[in-house]
């Protein structure tokens, strides 16, 4: 079973990111589960969401404590949250950042400047679809194709096009350190 933990802040699409990842895995014939953990609900507060992917049906319903990979939609959460807590050996931290943050200098990191990409493609700094593109590039968890398909299913018209563009741009511009 692959377990992914998403970090970000309320309003950035963290919960949707986990959900879209699960749906992308489902498209590839896998079993999946996606769920958020909310703190006291408010925009801007740190938010965590989880996705599990497996070849057989998934029964466990605890939070994810030892993720295979983590995805960080907003690098400012690094100041207060240890995003690599429990990260499995060989696991990757896929980060929305231009350079490796001080807090992650010992971790295996993939970098995507998702905020810049989101502003370019969507016009707003909502980084979830870009970060899914980055995750597809940096890991074998799901393909970019599946990410594009679930984005097209979730969003309509122009919004779908822009989010697909964000995912593809991030896929192109992700660097594994």
């Amino acid at each position: 079973m692959i377990e992914i933990r998403f970090h970000g802040r309320g309003g950035q699409g963290v919960v949707t990111a986990a959900r879209l990842l699960a749906e992308a895995a489902f498209l590839e014939g896998k079993h999946c589960q996606a769920f958020p953990f909310f703190g006291a609900e408010r925009r801007g507060a740190p938010v965590v969401a989880f996705a599990r992917i497996d070849d057989k049906s998934i029964r466990v319903r605890t939070q994810v404590y030892e993720p295979n990979h983590v995805v960080v939609l907003d690098p400012t959460v690094l100041e207060t949250v240890n995003v690599v807590a429990g990260l499995k050996r060989g696991g990757l931290a896929v980060i929305n950042a231009k350079k490796i943050p001080e807090e992650l200098k010992n971790a295996k990191v993939a970098l995507a400047d998702a905020t810049a990409i989101a502003v370019e493609t969507l016009g707003v700094p909502i980084t979830n679809t870009a970060m899914l593109g980055a995750l597809a590039k940096a890991t074998e968890v799901v393909s970019l194709d599946s990410v594009v398909k679930v984005i097209e299913k979730r969003f309509k018209g122009k919004l779908a096009e822009k989010n697909v563009a964000a995912a593809k741009a991030a896929h192109n511009r992700t660097v594994i350190k």
Partner: protein
């Protein structure tokens, strides 16, 4: 067709497939997205129903009562404080024998304020004459909601379908969505005997004088008992049509078990994983899940637990000043019955606190020790409690 849906979407989809005619509800976390989804279905023409907006849950259920009495299939959903505000009307709905189906997304009660999951809310209204069914996963939510309409309408009892807030309500997983035509065959058009009709006036809910009130309660109790058979019958028919069966209880690797975990709701899934780890080591640990809490499956539990040495009842509720509600009823099932297992109660997972495999194992170990020594030193315990509060002056 398989789709990835969260628990709330599964509940809303079931209400749509049941072709409910009236939805009346008031938003409350974590239930809100159920009625939002239904409002969307109604607004875009996918569901032909009336959505009655109200100013509180008390009014929401009151509106459902009026609607159900006029001969239409009626649905509502709530959580926590909303269910508490409805509590007066819950007894009216069952007393009037109105087959309303309600989802309760389990959430803890104030104070302290919490939006997270436990089962204190529905447990607090267990005596209200509503059938209470608890779901373990999103497929079960959809299927149980469909079954609930059949049971409710055939016995004239309201049914509450309960599932855990966030852990199911906001968790997406693949589930099978049945075809509308198949659901239509399973759920015939709703027909209420003696509906409210200006052409043929009837009185509902008149004064229950001392000479008659007790008989009304007796009949309600008899209907609750009868609902056990009805639940099984409907479940079996559901299986024929859709291939899935749940039962009043589920026995998981428990037939030869010395130690059995007794659970309700989503906790059952993680606990089954723990059972598997013990079984791999050859230890006789099993699990029994209670799906129907009201009516309480006394006979079934005697059959499922009777041969065990010790039973650990894990639950996300507490009857303050006593013990957990599931534990109390499970223990009472064995009154006048021999042999009876030793029973331990573990209160856990309140207000969304994650119940980890380690905590579940702690309960198994305590029950195994009781089985070995034949003694229970403390029947009611708390799992995962912060040491700081233990022994504090309260």
């Amino acid at each position: 067709m398989k789709q990835v849906l969260d628990g709330n979407e599964a509940a809303a989809t079931a209400a749509k497939l049941a072709r409910v005619k009236v939805v009346s509800a008031y938003p409350i976390t974590p239930q809100t997205t159920i009625v939002e989804k239904l409002a969307e279905f109604i607004a875009n023409g996918e569901l032909d129903a009336e959505y009655i907006k109200v100013e509180s849950e008390h009014s929401a259920l009151s509106a459902c009562i009026g609607a159900a009495a006029t001969d239409v299939r009626t649905f509502t959903a709530t959580s926590s404080q909303g269910l508490m505000l409805m509590s007066e009307i819950l007894f009216v709905a069952s007393g009037l024998r109105l087959p309303i189906v309600m989802t309760n997304v389990n959430r803890s009660l104030s104070a302290p304020l919490s939006i997270w999951c436990d089962q204190q809310d529905s447990m607090a209204v267990r005596d209200s004459g509503w059938v209470q069914l608890y779901c373990e996963n999103n497929q079960e939510i959809l299927d149980t909601t469909l079954q609930a309409f059949r049971v409710a309408e055939e016995l004239l009892l309201p049914v509450m379908v309960c599932f855990d807030g966030y852990i199911l309500s906001h968790t997406a997983e693949p589930i099978e969505i049945p075809e509308q035509a198949e659901v239509d065959k399973f759920l015939p058009v709703y027909k209420f005997p003696n509906p409210l009709d200006p052409e043929k006036p009837v009185t509902m809910g008149p004064l229950g004088v001392p000479e008659y009130y007790e008989e009304f309660r007796y009949m309600l109790q008899e209907a609750m008992h009868a609902s056990k058979e009805k639940l099984v019958e409907v479940d079996k028919e559901f299986k024929k049509r859709f291939g899935r069966y749940y039962g009043l209880i589920e026995r998981y690797r428990s037939d030869d078990a010395d130690v059995i975990l007794l659970t309700m709701g989503s906790l059952s899934s993680s606990a089954k994983e723990v059972v598997d780890t013990y079984r791999k080591r050859g230890e006789k640990v099993g699990l029994v899940k209670v799906r129907s809490f009201r009516p309480f499956p006394v006979k079934e539990l005697i059959g499922a637990l009777g041969q065990a040495k010790a039973v650990a009842v894990l639950e996300k509720d507490i009857s303050l000043g006593s013990a957990g509600g599931l534990f109390l009823d499970a223990a009472a099932s064995f009154i006048n019955v021999k042999p009876a297992p030793l029973m331990l109660n573990f209160i856990c997972g309140l207000a969304g606190r994650d119940v980890s495999p380690l905590q579940i194992k702690e309960a198994v170990r305590a029950a195994a020790k009781a089985a070995e020594t034949g003694k229970v030193r403390r029947a009611v315990r708390w799992l995962g409690l912060r040491e700081k509060v233990v022994g504090l002056k309260v």
